[in-house]
Symmetry: C2
Subunit: 145 residues, 2 copies
DNA sequence: ATATTATAGACTCTTAATATCTATAATTCA
DNA sequence: TGAATTATAGATATTAAGAGTCTATAATAT
């Protein structure tokens, strides 16, 4: 069981967009260079983020992708759900009733994970990063997210 | 991202073996009937559980599978690891250092999930089930795990 | 108009999971 | 000893999902 590469790229892209800020749109070409991935592939990922309502796109020259107004409240879980869907980690394949104990326990575990992923918002991360920056502890490659 | 069917069968099998108790070995044929799955497929799963040290096997007539002595301390996480392996849910595919923030956060989330899965041991579940049983609240299909 | 950029669909490639079949080894019992 | 029973191992086939490419189309700025 693993998160997809698409999720990986989505999380990094969102983090990078939140560093850049919502003012300047970035083209997929630039983002693809940044993450060493093909532009057409990253396009599909970005389109999912647009459809999920967390990114805004604009065609034409000076177009590209930028965060939407609500960006600070977007959580890791939101991003993961946008890419992987919201299906749960476990579907009991046996045909006993809905009160399958195995199912219940695994879903409780999943809920713990989701609680943590929901608590990590882009706003919080940006705040944390800026604290680090002010404290002078930011690493040399500050462009890396 | 989903747990495999094999994990599903493994969890149910272990739970069922813990209801039966470690005294009487059960053949794969019986277990496969119970879970409506092919015996050869379930065999491979059981072999993994044997190799992980949580189940004991015996060939020949009256042979089969039974729990080992330590069965009460076996957790859901142990069983999942036996089937799925212990690799983490996330490997950042970018080549920035080991201190990838995305990686860290997802791994923290995974750790929360694992803590819960580790706390669910077969011993605890058996105890809980027997309380339910004594309290007369057990459902009609008490053979279902 | 033309260049730029996003969107959408078809398509291929690869990998992992699922599942089956067969042969072999170990053990019981008559 | 021999036959029946049961687990183990390996080869193989099938399917589904992820990863990635290519091309055509739509939207927009200059």
């Amino acid at each position: 069981m693993k998160y997809s590469k698409a999720t990986d790229y989505a999380l990094h892209t969102m983090l990078f967009l939140s560093v850049v800020g919502p003012d300047k749109p970035l083209g997929v070409q630039l983002l693809a260079d940044k993450f060493q991935v093909s532009p057409t592939y990253l396009s599909k990922i970005l389109t999912k983020l647009v459809k999920a309502g967390m990114v805004e796109s604009a065609s034409g020259a000076n177009g590209g992708y930028r965060l939407k107004r609500n960006w600070e409240s977007v959580s890791f879980l939101d991003i993961i759900h946008a890419i992987e869907g919201t299906a749960s980690l476990f579907d009991c394949s046996l045909d006993h009733g809905p009160e399958c104990q195995v199912q219940q326990i695994v879903l409780e575990a999943e809920a713990k994970m989701e609680t943590h992923l929901r608590s990590q918002t882009l706003g919080e991360l940006a705040k944390r990063s800026s604290l680090l920056f002010k404290g002078g502890q930011m690493s040399s490659d500050e462009g890396t997210v």
